[in-house]
Structures are given as C-alpha cells and as structure tokens.
C-alpha cells in the first residue's frame, strides 16, 4: 500500500482527528449530565448542602467540557457534506434522518436548557431547575442514542434497498433503529461515558483527600465515584462481551483483525500479545493461549474461527490498530474494575483515607475511561475498514470527488491548530478549577464575583474568583 498524500487520505486523517477530539467531550459530558441531575435530585430530596455544593462545582467543569463538545460537534455535522459528499448523497436518506433526530431531540434540548442550568438559577423555581438538569441529561443521552444508531447502521447495514445511482432507500426504520446491534452498542457507549465520569469524580475526590482539603466533598466524591464505578464497570464488561458477539456475527473481518488471526483455526487459540505483521500475514513476538480463542468467540472449546487470509488483501482491515486498541481498552477496563472494587471495599471499611497508595492510584486513574473510550472507537472504526458502510460502500468511494490535496491539507491544518489551541486552553482551565477546589455555597453562583457585592464572595481567594466565580456566572 503506497501512502500517497491524497485528498482521501487527508480526509480520513481529518475525520479521525476531529471525531477523536470530539468524542472525548461527550464521553465526559454524557456522564456529567447524569451526575448533575442525580446531585440535583439528591439535593431536592435529602437536602444535604454537600449535594448542592458538589453540583455547583461540577456544573462549571461541565460548562467548559460542554462548550468544547458543542463546537467540535458542529464541525462533525458539516464534515459529512464537505469531505464525504458521495457518502452523504448515497446514504443521506438513511443517515440524514437519524442525525436529524439527533439534532432535534438532543442538540436542541441540551443547548436550550444548558443556558437555564448555568445562568438561570435565580430566575426559575427549584423544580424547574431540577427539570432543566433532567432535560440536559436526557438530551445528552438521546444524542448518544442517535449517534450510535447511525454508526451501528454503518457497521451492520439493514432495512434498505439500493435505488438508482446507488442511493440507499430505507425500507424499514424499525429494522434500522431496533437492530440488535444498536441495543448492544448504545449501552456500551453510555456506560463508557458513565464510567469515564465516575473515575474523574473519584480521582478528584482522591486528589483532595491526598491534599487534605475539602474533606466532606472529597469523601462524598470518593464514595459516589467509586461506588458507581464498582457497579458500572462489570456491567460494561458484560456489554463489551455482547459487542464482541455482534462483531463475531456481523463483521468477521473486524473480528479476525481484533484477534490478529491470519489463518483459520480449529480449535482457535487466543493471541494475548503480538506484533501483527500485515505484509507477511503473520504475527511476531506472539504470546497465545490455546482453546481460549474459541471459548471467547463462541463459548465452546473447539469452534472453527476464520482467519483474515480467507479474504482478499483489499477486503481486510489494517490489523495492528484494532488489535492493539482493543487490548488497551480491555486493559483499562480491568484496571478500573480492580480500583473500583478495592476502593469501595476499603471505603466501606473506613480505611480508604489512610491507604494513600490506593488514593494515588485512583488519582492517576482519571484518564483511563477516556483512553478506553477512544481505543474502543479505534477498534470499531478502523476495524470497519476498508468499508464506510460495511460490505456496501468502500471508504475510497465515499469521499467528495473533486476535492484537491491543498484544500484538505488547509482544512486539516486549520482544525489541528484551532483544536490544539482550545484543547490545551480548555484542559488548563478545567485543571485550574479542579485544583482550586472552591465549593461555593448554593445560590452564590452568579454573585460572588460582582465587585459591587464583595460580601457575597464566600471564602474565595483572588486566584479563585476569576477562575471559579465567573466560570459559573458567565
């Protein structure tokens, strides 16, 4: 495969880059929105001030992440048309309505009620405020749902006939939306977001506990973050396994690539570690376990598992990325399981705060969810190659036909520069907010930085007020 710099290659890099950047924020905000609604509910029912303080604090983090998610999401909405116009023209009748529902049921709700959440606290009743937080949560979840329906259709296309000009004409929306693939992958994605968020919350709690600050909030975050993760990670492993089943059934080349299995095997072994060598159709530095491959694929000990060489080289995905990405994802998942369970047990025994090694481990575990989510997507998307719509439309035939290399290169550079700028800045601002750890009293969201009312700045230091107060206020 010659790696000429073609508009197609650049468009693929651009799509991979923009979507990888984008997915980080929904992975965080889908979970955070649910967490915020939960805190708001707890605060309404239990009336303990700690919930309100946690809510106000995480709302600011949510604000930054949400803003980044929205603007990078707008880019995604346009990219299908700019760089993949052939795909849009042909699959638009199916993908367009699905993404249309996403904008209507998710994007619009989130955007409108997010404004109320951040800026309208003093203008609405507590009930309506809680309702707004539920709507934001509903919006982000609906967004994941439609995006996953759309992506699942690209992975396992059903419910269509091909019209003239290769246009996909939908014949059964029920088949498309209620495809078994959808109902495995939607929970897998939503759980990924929840796990990611619960680890960010627990890590923040661990951080404060290690620094001996915000003791009440730190304990609450550790308890809730780890407790959630202790339940959610096993559920996630289950849905991960079910996802593997759909891949095995619907996308045999992707399955073989994930397993780096080049030749048919019966019974099949499981390659644990290796360096796939695409050119010579074999693995190097292999460590594998006999029978385990069959066991994982079909829960039997001697099933026959197909290898990549059953297909022409032009129909095989690149092997190294799905193979390695999958292993990183699973590794992160197992690590999170160990941390969540051991942390929860020690917390229940009241010994977590003295187990500093574990607190440090939890603190450093905050990126694990993000890494697992990203590598999960790499597995799914790279494994789908060389197809954009599996078995139907090749990626090479999906691109805008008349784009030139300079055009796509220019756009790639612009996106790279702009995204780098806002990503670095956004990360720094989130880090500052987390580091400051200033929990405002409820109801002081918007007033604490008003220079005309200095008394309403409860215990904020000069460094904090610009960072924390206005964050929520504006």
């Amino acid at each position: 495969m010659a790696m000429d710099v073609t508009p197609l290659l650049l468009s693929r890099i651009q799509f991979a880059f923009t979507i990888s950047f984008h997915i980080i924020f929904p992975a965080f905000t889908v979970g955070l929105a649910a967490w915020l609604a939960y805190l708001q509910g707890c605060s309404l029912i239990l009336k303990a001030p700690v919930y309100d303080r946690l809510f106000s604090f995480w709302l600011r983090i949510f604000g930054i992440a949400f803003g980044l998610g929205v603007v990078s999401g707008i880019v995604m909405a346009f990219q299908f048309g700019t760089n993949w116009s052939e795909l849009s023209r042909r699959a638009g009748p199916i993908q367009g309505p699905l993404l249309g529902y996403e904008s209507f049921t998710a994007f619009a709700i989130e955007a409108s009620f997010f404004g109320v959440l951040v800026l309208g606290r003093d203008r609405v009743t507590r009930g309506f405020y809680f309702f707004s937080s539920l709507m934001v949560c509903l919006g982000t979840t609906m967004s994941s749902f439609w995006i996953m329906v759309n992506n699942s259709w690209m992975q396992a296309p059903v419910g269509f006939v091909q019209g003239p000009d290769g246009v996909f004409v939908p014949t059964s929306w029920t088949a498309i939306i209620f495809s078994p693939v959808v109902w495995v992958r939607v929970p897998h994605m939503v759980l990924a977001a929840y796990v990611t968020t619960s680890f960010c919350i627990a890590a923040t709690g661990a951080w404060y506990a290690l620094r001996g600050m915000n003791k009440v909030e730190a304990r609450a975050m550790l308890r809730m973050g780890l407790g959630l993760a202790a339940i959610l990670v096993p559920a996630q492993l289950l849905f991960g396994h079910l996802t593997g089943d759909y891949v095995h059934k619907w996308q045999p080349t992707k399955f073989a690539a994930i397993e780096a299995r080049w030749h048919d095997e019966q019974p099949a072994s499981e390659v644990l570690i290796a360096w796939p060598d695409q050119k010579n159709e074999r693995n190097r530095f292999t460590l594998s376990v006999p029978y385990l491959g069959s066991l994982i694929a079909t829960s039997t000990l001697n099933s026959k598992e197909v290898g990549l060489t059953d297909w022409a080289p032009s129909d095989r995905p690149p092997v190294a990325i799905p193979f390695l990405a999958f292993r990183i994802m699973v590794g992160c998942g197992l690590l999170m399981l160990a941390l969540a369970w051991s942390g929860s047990v020690l917390h229940a025994l009241g010994r977590l705060e003295r187990a500093r090694w574990l607190l440090w481990s939890i603190f450093f575990s905050f990126p694990l969810g993000f890494i697992a989510t990203l590598t999960g997507w790499f597995t799914a998307e790279v494994g789908r190659q060389p197809w954009t719509i599996y078995g139907q439309v090749r990626t090479a035939r999906a691109a805008t036909p008349f784009l030139t290399t300079p055009q796509v290169a220019a756009s790639l550079i612009v996106f790279a520069v702009v995204y780098a700028l806002i990503f670095v800045a956004g990360t720094i601002y989130i880090y500052r907010l987390l580091k400051a750890g200033a929990f405002p009293a409820p109801g002081h969201l918007g007033t604490e930085t008003n220079p005309k009312r200095p008394l309403s700045v409860p215990g904020s230091s000069p460094g904090v007020d610009s960072a924390a107060g206005l964050a929520a206020a504006e």
Binding site: G67, S85, S103, Y429
Partner: protein, 328 residues
C-alpha cells in the same frame, strides 16, 4: 411531504438568521465596546441563548442532510473553504464564552476570537447567499466550480451586507436588553447600520442589474412578490422613527421584519429551485420513506416542542438585564 420539509427548512434557516443574527451582531459590537464592563454586559445579554441559537444552524444542516441529501452534498462540498473558515470561527467564538473569564493572560485572544469570529461567520454566510444568487457552477447535478467556484465580487458584497445586517440586529437587541452606556452605544450605531444596510441593498440591486442576473427576470415574472421588499421598506421607515424616538421595544421586531422580508424575497425568487436554477426542491428530495420517518417524529412532534422550549427559555431570560445583580 416534500413541501412540508422545504417549508420547515425555510423556517429553520429563518429562525437561525433572526436568532443567531442578533447574537453574532452583539459579538461584532463587542469588538468596539469601550471597556470591560460594557463587554461583560454584552456577553451577559447573549450568554444564555447563543448555544440554542446556534442549534438552528445545526438543525438546518441536518434537515438538509436528511430531507435533501443531494443538495446537502452539493452545497457543503462546493463551499468547502468558506465553510472551513466559518467552522473555525464558530469554534473560537463558542469557546470564548467560557474561556475569556477563566483566562489569566489570554483574554484578549478569546475576545478577538469572539468579535472576529462573529464578523467572519456573518461574512461567510452572506457570501454564500451571494454566490447562490449569482448561481453556482453546477453541471448534471454535480458541482464543478473547484475550490473558488463560489467566489465573486458580488459574493463579497453580500458578505459585507450580512455583516451590517447582523450588526443592526445586534444593536437593536442591545438597546432592548440593556440600560445606560451599552444602550447608548447601540443607539449610536443603529442609524449608521441601518444606512449601511440600505446602501448595500441598493448596491446589490444595481449590481444585479449590471450582471443581468437570472433572479431579476423572476421579479418581472412574479410582480406579486414585490410585497416583500415593500414590507421591508415600511419596516425600515418604522425602525428609523423608533431609533429617533428611542422605542426600545420596537427596534428588534422591525429588524426581524426587514430580515424576514429579505428572506421572503429570496425564497420567492428561487422557488421551485433549491440550488438556484440547477436543482429543484423535488429533484433534491430524499425518498418518501425518509421524509415520512422525519415527518411523523421530528416534524409533527419534536419541531413544535423545540419551538415551545425555545420560547420558554427566552421567557425565562426576558426583560432588561440588571447589571447590579449579575444574574446572567
């Protein structure tokens, strides 16, 4: 079904222009605000709603994708470079709302992104309309113009026109939502912006006659559509009076009316074409199964709900902002 989605698309685009129009306009005036207090007030005026306003752009794009995929593919790929500029501007402008307050050293960068981004977004949208009026190079339903096929002096003129137009809406919004200095600033710029918009319309019209654009023939074929420019002219007159007498409440509605009449004029001159004079609405429409699926859920249920909660959110944030209590 096709007519419904064509009408819905028009409504979404109009909602976008009217709503994001004013917040882009406020963004431009932000660039010439005299000091930080004024800038904060301007931010506060639009902070709760900008995100929702921008949603109408996304709704427009995705409905175009869902109901008229052919046009979506054609237009978005034809406007590759201007869209790139617009998206970069939307990103910089969007993060500025959060970032400028959290920044220690980079506030001026985000402020520049905010004001400059607002100008660029408006300019690109205006230029795209200009390019459509002048007709894109399309052969056999495929765009054939290359990277700069949209570019023309007329497109540039229209880009500038929309910058002034959005700034006019922005100034009207500021006058309606604020008191004191910021309101005065709005009133100072309103007459100039109204004049600039009228001069632009005159220039664009003369230019169109000079180029002998096909749009003009439509006007002589369909004299009834002259009601739209007439409404626009009447609204401009009322706006001029309202500016002079300082009727805060009348400014933005009159601005809306001017934009609405311009929008109506364009739609009436293009029908039944979606991409002027090369792709008709019927040719562009998705298969019936797609339109029907969108219609029974998004069209009948969700679109009205979206309109309702947009109204609810505007109601929550109604009235003048109070600089003392810093609600926003």
């Amino acid at each position: 079904m096709i007519d419904f989605w064509a009408a819905a698309l028009g409504l979404m685009l109009l909602m976008y222009v009217l709503l994001d129009g004013f917040d882009l306009g406020v963004g431009m005036l932000f660039g010439i605000a005299p000091h930080e207090a004024a800038r904060r007030q301007m931010m506060r005026v639009i902070a709760p709603v900008w995100d929702g306003n921008e949603t109408w752009l996304v709704l427009t794009a995705t409905i175009l994708f869902g109901a008229f995929p052919h046009v979506y593919a054609l237009l978005l790929s034809a406007f590759y470079l201007p869209l790139l500029v617009m998206l970069a501007a939307i990103i910089l402008r969007g993060v500025a709302f959060e970032f400028r307050y959290k920044s220690i050293g980079l506030r001026h960068v985000w402020d520049l992104g905010f004001a400059g981004g607002s100008v660029l977004i408006a300019f690109v949208q205006g230029a795209a309309i200009g390019a459509l009026v002048q007709e894109l190079p399309v052969r056999g339903g495929q765009y054939v113009g290359g990277a700069f096929g949209w570019f023309s002096p007329f497109a540039i003129l229209c880009g500038l026109g929309l910058v002034f137009g959005y700034a006019l809406l922005g100034a009207a919004w500021l006058c309606a939502k604020t008191e004191g200095e910021v309101r005065d600033l709005g009133y100072r710029y309103l007459p100039r912006l109204l004049a600039a918009v009228l001069v632009f319309l005159l220039l664009a019209f003369t230019y169109a006659i000079g180029l002998d654009l096909r749009v003009l023939h439509r006007w002589s074929e369909r004299p009834a559509m002259m009601t739209f420019p007439a409404i626009g002219l009447a609204a401009s007159t009322v706006l001029a009076v309202a500016i002079r007498r300082r009727y805060d409440g009348a400014l933005y509605p009159m601005g809306m009316l001017i934009f609405g009449s311009a929008f109506g004029t364009l739609v009436a001159s293009f029908l039944p074409y979606m991409v002027p004079f090369s792709v008709t609405i019927d040719q562009a429409a998705a298969p019936h199964a797609s339109l029907a699926f969108l219609f029974w859920g998004a069209g009948v249920v969700v679109l009205p709900i979206t309109l309702i909660y947009t109204a609810v959110v505007y109601r929550v944030f109604r009235g003048k902002i109070d600089p003392e209590t810093n609600y926003l």
